[in-house]
């Protein structure tokens, strides 16, 4: 058997020491009637050579972004991943360790996550970042639960405008048995209709959730939205795009209380949707209501600076049913990827990536509208992603695919977006452009669709 050490002689010696004649005796604590008296029905074992053949055979029937030109968006983007990330996170000392329960034997992990928290705070201008949650959608769900704890209001949460439909679905699942109403206020001209939002806020609203850039790409006036939320005594939760913060005003400067994100664009591969990285930040006054792990700086017995798991009394292993979250395992290795990504790019690098995405997306939008006849769905300002209207979106996608391009997703694959007409939802197509796309690729896509 692969990966096992024990030889037949050693097994005998070990059984002798235990004082039993066979492993079967050790298994007697499992009643005979409950034991499985047949082999599991699993595929036959494969050697490493055969396993590699099997995986290659499967992988060959899934074409990756490397084989195609990817203009897909909707919350997952093909950004360039510097080589250092795979090399460094591929070190066994990182990826074969676990949660740093023994601080002395985990200073590498602890310091790396402290740096993660520091860099995410610098990126967002928020006070506190935790050491990650599962993904962007579950981060919003955790933010909603935290808003309820902070405000003491448990009966209403309001999604403003176009938040990712999968995030809304996730929040609905999380609160559906808590008697909490989930309200979605409509878009108007591609961004939040502020009058309708104001009208939806009550003195029982725990939070307003705004995504900016929103699901259709539009940049929201987050400062104005958070003022509206605060006027109603609610918290403002922003879901942001981390790369966009190379250019855009940051959540901390817009007055939001909790800022969360899907962190995939920070050096994490697409891998069909996961593992990704939930970023979770808040203002310092709410830190004891924060879900998830936190790393803190302290000193050791001899006064030397070191790092520990901190404020653990919030967590499930201590507070059990009153914990701020049930999360235990988080996205550690993905947080390490994001830290190395941000450290590698630095302030100039992230600004350059953001500018490239923005310029190329605007070029693509212009060409698609003027040459291919696919107009923007709204005039709202956008960052790297936008929605175009096409009379036969399925045909557009197929045409692009046949030429080796992936665009989308189609808005029709999602639950109805509040404020979008049935026609717009049926005809809308998202297009995302990152720094990886060249002018030539954009021109060819436009040509194919023209």
């Amino acid at each position: 058997m692969p990966y096992l050490y024990n030889t037949a002689e050693q097994r005998t010696a070990m059984l002798d020491r235990i004082g039993v004649d066979s492993v079967a005796t050790l298994l007697e604590q499992i009643p005979q009637a409950l034991q499985l008296h047949r082999p599991l029905d699993l595929p036959a074992p494969l050697t490493e050579i055969a396993l590699e053949q099997r995986l290659r055979q499967l992988a060959d029937r899934s074409t990756g972004a490397a084989d195609r030109v990817c203009f897909l968006g909707g919350g997952a983007y093909e950004h360039f991943i510097p080589s250092v990330i795979d090399e460094l996170t591929g070190r066994g000392e990182f990826y074969t360790a676990y949660t740093p329960y023994q601080a002395e034997a985990s200073q590498g992990t602890l310091q790396a996550f402290f740096e993660f928290q520091s860099l995410i705070c610098e990126l967002t201008e928020m006070d506190v970042s935790n050491a990650s949650v599962y993904d962007g959608a579950s981060a919003i769900a955790e933010a909603v639960l935290m808003s309820m704890r902070v405000t003491g209001r448990k009966s209403r949460v309001v999604f403003a405008g176009a938040v990712h439909p999968e995030s809304i679905s996730t929040v609905r699942t999380y609160v559906q048995h808590l008697g909490c109403e989930v309200v979605c206020t409509p878009l108007s001209a591609g961004v939040i209709d502020r009058d309708q939002l104001s009208a939806a806020l009550t003195d029982q609203t725990a939070c307003v959730i705004v995504q900016s850039p929103n699901f259709l790409g539009g940049i929201e006036d987050v400062t104005a939205i958070s003022e509206l939320a605060h006027k109603a005594g609610a918290l403002c939760v922003q879901s942001f795009n981390p790369i966009s913060l190379g250019l855009l005003k940051r959540p901390g400067a817009c007055g939001v209380d909790i800022a969360v994100a899907e962190g995939q664009s920070l050096g994490i591969p697409l891998q069909f949707g996961g593992p990704y990285l939930g970023l979770f930040t808040c203002r310092s006054e709410h830190v004891r209501k924060l879900p998830g792990r936190l790393i803190g700086e302290t000193v050791d017995r001899q006064g030397k600076r070191c790092f520990v798991l901190n404020l653990q009394a919030r967590e499930q292993h201590i507070r059990r049913d009153k914990a701020t979250s049930n999360i235990c395992t988080n996205q550690g290795l993905m947080a390490l990827r994001a830290t190395i990504y941000l450290a590698t790019l630095g302030p100039q690098g992230i600004r350059e990536v953001a500018e490239l995405c923005c310029q190329k997306a605007h070029y693509a939008a212009k060409q698609l509208a003027q040459v291919a006849g696919l107009p923007l769905m709204s005039t709202a300002p956008f960052f790297q992603e936008f929605a175009v209207r096409c009379t036969d979106p399925a045909a557009v996608i197929t045409k692009a695919q046949q030429a080796g391009f992936d665009v989308g997703p189609l808005l029709s694959r999602f639950a109805p977006i509040s404020g979008l007409s049935v026609e717009d939802q049926a005809q809308g197509l998202l297009v995302a452009v990152t720094e990886c796309r060249s002018r030539d690729e954009i021109d060819r896509l436009v040509e194919v669709l023209a």
Partner: protein, 491 residues
């Protein structure tokens, strides 16, 4: 051989003007930014990230990595965490372009290999559980628990039943009550019984028509099989409730007994534990759930379904179950971890899976026997994949606590067991050696513990003495939390 420069904080290392990455100039016509985005939405300056060059980033993180104990470098018997070897082949295979570069919104037609893999994974996990309906969506074990409780809540609501309670034993992982509370249930904890198992009589008293779910880890956190589990299940089923099996300890029973066969209605896996994920310094995990047929329609979507055309071609598609609870996250699941779990199960096959469980049990019992005289486990005589020893004798006789032993083990080059959990054992040291350790390692570990117990108790309070730091001040950290780097003059 310490390198203290490279382990300073990134922000302390920052030197204005350094760069780790550069990007090509734009090849599209560049427009003034303010003409694209209103200036009110633009930041005044780039984020205040540190400025570093590539070589120093590499040196920094390589040096940091050497401050960790890990499965690759040390014996890591952290109970309940299944710190087994992480096969290197998984790393290479999970980075194949057809896996790592697949976009979640790519059409199913161009993603048939991935979907086939995930379908096969659903089938294998259903078979090992004895519970046929599987969702791969949850991102970790606790997420799987929560998802299953949402499924149970939806099921009862659909049946028109008002069930408000979730019951669990005192030895349960903290995630059980935390998940139950988030799912909107009231938590009922059973008092611990003397033999470390669920007390059937107190269970019967706790379970009634308001009980939705009984959550139980089997084998439990003491490494003992709940041998009355079929009776337990009968109590629940007679009252119309469901039995949830916390699969944290599946490494003990895979191929030997199945949750579905011993009365479980729902369970989660920890793919990063049982199927050697890896653990990633705290995650990512993957927490698929398997449930009985009648709960299948409530699973979160999408799941993968298979269909065969009349010409014999098989295709795979993503579908959402009829009465789905909705999503618990975006996208399909933690694919990177599921692919590694798939590689593991395809490498082992049925016989290998059972052999792994049997060796995990053999190793745990062997270590338990080696320690029987010096650090006895109060429950037994035998265990499954792990056991909980107690240092209360050592504390009483010599003033040596579980924490002292744990810290001193680090000096001798062993990661510590889980300490002070479960709470039902005083001075608990929870040890799970796993199957991928040798007799020689277990012998050395047991000898070391015996030696530590003869050492000067006052010296042990100073352990570890050979690691970079020793006994961090947790109180100071929690009283005045410093949670990020702040620019200030320091040594």
């Amino acid at each position: 051989m310490r390198n203290t420069i490279a382990t300073r904080l990134l922000s302390d290392l920052s030197t204005p003007g350094r760069r780790g990455a550069s990007y090509p100039a734009s090849d599209v016509p560049v427009e003034p930014l303010a003409s694209l985005i209103p200036s009110a939405f633009l930041a005044d300056a780039a984020p205040q990230l540190p400025e570093l060059c590539e070589p120093e980033i590499v040196r920094h993180y390589v040096n940091l990595s050497t401050l960790n104990m890990s499965v690759d470098t040390h014996f890591y018997p952290l109970g309940s965490c299944t710190m087994k070897y992480n096969p290197k082949r998984h790393e290479r295979l999970s980075r194949l372009p057809g896996i790592v570069d697949v976009h979640p919104y790519q059409a199913d037609g161009s993603n048939q290999g991935m979907l086939e893999l995930l379908y096969e994974m659903q089938q294998m996990l259903g078979e090992i559980a004895g519970l046929p309906a599987v969702s791969l969506q949850p991102a970790a074990g606790a997420h799987g628990e929560l998802t299953a409780l949402f499924v149970a809540a939806a099921y009862f609501r659909d049946k028109g039943e008002q069930r408000t309670k979730v019951v669990f034993p005192a030895s349960a992982h903290g995630t059980n009550p935390a998940s139950a509370a988030i799912a909107g249930f009231d938590c009922v904890e059973l008092a611990p019984a003397g033999n470390g198992l669920v007390d059937l009589e107190s269970l019967k008293r706790a379970v009634d028509q308001q009980t939705a779910v009984f959550m139980v880890t089997n084998p439990n956190t003491l490494g003992l099989f709940e041998r009355q589990i079929d009776e337990i299940a009968r109590v629940l089923h007679d009252a119309g409730g469901l039995v949830y099996i916390d699969g944290a300890n599946m490494n003990a029973i895979m191929g030997i007994t199945r949750p579905g066969d011993f009365g479980g209605d729902m369970m989660h896996y920890n793919v990063h534990k049982t199927f050697t994920g890896p653990h990633g310094a705290g995650g990512p995990g993957s927490g698929p759930i398997a449930v009985r047929d009648f709960l299948g329609p409530y699973l979160p979507g999408p799941i993968v379904t298979q269909s065969t055309a009349s010409d014999g071609t098989t295709t795979y598609a993503q579908t959402t179950p009829a009465k789905s609870i909705g999503r618990v996250r975006a996208h399909f699941g933690n694919i990177g971890i599921l692919v590694r779990g798939y590689c593991y199960l395809r490498t082992l096959g049925a016989a290998g899976v059972r052999a792994a469980a049997e060796d995990a049990i053999l190793n745990a019992n062997y270590l338990k026997a080696l320690l029987a005289d010096v650090l006895p486990a109060p429950h037994g005589p035998h265990c499954l994949h792990e056991f909980v020893a107690s240092a209360s004798g050592a504390l009483k006789d010599r003033g040596i606590s579980a924490m002292d032993i744990a810290k001193r083990l680090l000096d001798y080059g062993f990661h510590a067991p889980t300490v002070y959990f479960p709470l039902v054992v005083p001075e608990a040291l929870m040890m799970e050696p796993t199957e991928t350790e040798s007799k020689e390692t277990l012998d050395a570990f047991a000898e070391t513990i015996a030696k530590i117990l003869t050492e000067d108790p006052a010296e042990l309070k100073l352990a570890p003495q050979t690691l970079p730091v020793s006994r961090p001040n947790d109180v100071q950290a929690a009283r005045n939390p410093i949670l990020k780097w702040t620019p200030c003059v320091k040594d």
